[in-house]
């Protein structure tokens, strides 16, 4: 049976968990290893650490965090941020990470995806894509689809496209997000972590059209990210966005909802999940 994973994301800066609002304002939400162990105990299916600093002098801090996490956490975890070479990936995997997330470096040099996949297998290569709407769809009402809205007609979705951004959402690179996702899979991505830059930090829900478009274009699992503010957003991500996994940060970190509540909401909506 296909089951949908619930993944808390921990943005880490210098060994502390933070969560940016639109990647700018940061709030401290604690020790990453402690949080990770709590999420494991609460029934999270997987964890993602995004090292948002990732400068070379902080590399050891990250490796140490990965080591400590591997000693206390027995669910899969991905570490992304600052992975630029096969060696970077090797260090993280040897320290205990199950997967590595690559974003900017993959856009700069797509062969990196294949190199890591060839060395360690596609299952440990998560290509992270930060996407922003290029064209605002001309729809009735606000002009921006409500989170719960169904994907309507190809004419509307056809007029939409999303551009890939790198460097934490600062640099537009001129790639189409859906095409880039498909290419990344061809090159050896085992999973796509898809973040809507328009929605990230807004609590307005996933960009469901983006999620559905990328999920349809990819033969590998897609993790929806960016914008979760309610449990219904998670449900919509699975049902409408066809996401294989749903990611959220602040709603979990600040105790608004528990993993168990998230899973209950998904199960009640008919989305199969591992019970928490």
């Amino acid at each position: 049976m296909k089951t949908t994973r619930v993944i808390p994301c921990l943005d880490v800066d210098s060994g502390r968990v933070v969560k940016g609002v639109n990647f700018v304002e940061l709030r401290d939400a604690g020790d990453p290893v402690e949080l990770a162990a709590r999420y494991d105990a609460e029934g999270a299916d997987e964890l993602i650490f995004l090292d948002i600093t990732a400068s070379s002098d902080r590399r050891e801090t990250t490796i140490e965090m990965v080591r400590r996490t591997a000693e206390e956490v027995f669910i899969p975890f991905t570490v992304g941020g600052g992975v630029r070479t096969v060696e970077d990936a090797r260090r993280l995997l040897r320290a205990g990470a199950d997967k590595v997330g690559i974003n900017t470096a993959a856009v700069d040099r797509p062969e990196l995806i294949s190199e890591i996949a060839d060395e360690f297998g596609v299952q440990c290569v998560v290509v992270a894509i930060d996407a922003r709407r290029r064209v605002v769809a001309t729809q009735s009402g606000s002009g921006d689809e409500a989170p719960s809205q169904e994907i309507s007609g190809s004419a509307q979705t056809g007029s939409l496209s999303w551009e890939v951004f790198t460097h934490g959402g600062r640099t537009a690179v001129g790639l189409d997000a859906v095409e880039w996702a498909a290419r990344a899979v061809e090159l050896g991505a085992g999973e796509i972590l898809l973040t809507s830059m328009d929605r990230d930090g807004t609590k307005e829900g996933f960009d469901l059209q983006l999620t559905a478009a990328v999920s349809a274009a990819c033969s590998v699992p897609v993790i929806a990210s960016g914008g979760v503010g309610t449990l219904d957003h998670l449900v919509q991500g699975a049902l409408v966005g066809k996401a294989d996994a749903v990611l959220a940060a602040s709603i979990f970190h600040f105790g608004e909802f528990t993993i168990a509540q998230a899973k209950q909401a998904l199960a009640q909506a008919g989305v199969a999940v591992r019970p928490a």
């Binding site: 205990g96 297998g121 596609v122 299952q123 440990c124």
Partner: protein
């Protein structure tokens, strides 16, 4: 923790040593740490002597079948693994470590597996996302000490695009675009397609069972050795 399995008390009093074969593939630390967490003395090692002395052996594996097989050969750990199996000590293959126990895999045609289990590893059915990268519920097909205390349908974490074909060794299946072999066993050689070291408390329970199996097997071997020594002594006395 109060498991009723034969090795449990012994495992606690005198933790068995479990060699985790280190052939440079991906994340091997998880298996080591998880085994330590459930009370084993886990050693991540490529040393044939250390492996020969361990009470049980774990063969992890991620990535492509061919590449893992090649790495095993390069490090000489294929010999060590086969010796461990031949010695009758408990053995556990995880994920690609399970697949390597079979004769071959569709993933890497022409490359021979270790051939401990007869059969071929095949691609998952089309129509579902691959790899299967998710939690799934097992259906246990046979009783096994590996799944003691886990109930009928424990949840485990899977990451794979290939799986063994069903055979007489079948222990558990899961549903993913069809029935998928999730675990197999022949005597004390166990294999799981899922990752027990990544399956939370349920996975740790599987590893705890394996550690208990290692402890009771060590006990059995010690008794057998003592009996043989006694017989040899008696024979010597009669000869005198």
């Amino acid at each position: 923790m109060g498991s009723g399995s034969p090795g449990a008390a012994d495992a606690e009093a005198n933790p068995p040593t479990i060699a985790v074969l280190d052939y440079g593939i991906g994340n091997l630390r998880s298996a080591e740490k998880a085994l330590e967490h459930v009370g084993a003395v886990a050693v991540l090692t490529a040393d044939p002597d250390e492996i020969a002395q361990a009470d049980a052996v774990v063969l992890p594996g991620v990535g492509a079948f061919g590449r893992c097989r090649e790495a095993l050969a390069q490090t000489g750990l294929d010999e060590a693994a086969l010796n461990a199996v031949a010695s009758g000590r408990p053995f556990l293959g995880i994920c690609v470590g399970m697949q390597l126990l079979y004769d071959s895999s569709e993933e890497s045609p022409g490359i021979a597996g270790l051939g401990v289990f007869a059969g071929t590893v095949r691609r998952l059915q089309p129509g579902v996302k691959q790899p299967q990268m998710q939690w799934n519920q097992l259906s246990l097909m046979n009783d096994s000490p590996l799944f003691e205390g886990l109930g009928e349908n424990p949840w485990m974490y899977f990451v794979h695009s290939f799986a063994a074909e069903p055979s007489q060794y079948l222990l558990a299946t899961c549903e993913y675009g069809g029935s998928v072999v999730a675990a197999a066993q022949s005597e004390l050689v166990f294999a799981t397609q899922f990752h027990p070291e990544k399956s939370g408390q349920a996975g740790l329970a599987v590893l705890r069972n394996f550690v208990n199996i290692a402890a009771s097997s060590r006990e059995v071997r010690a008794q057998r050795a003592a009996q043989q020594a006694q017989l040899a002594q008696q024979a010597q006395r009669r000869a005198v």
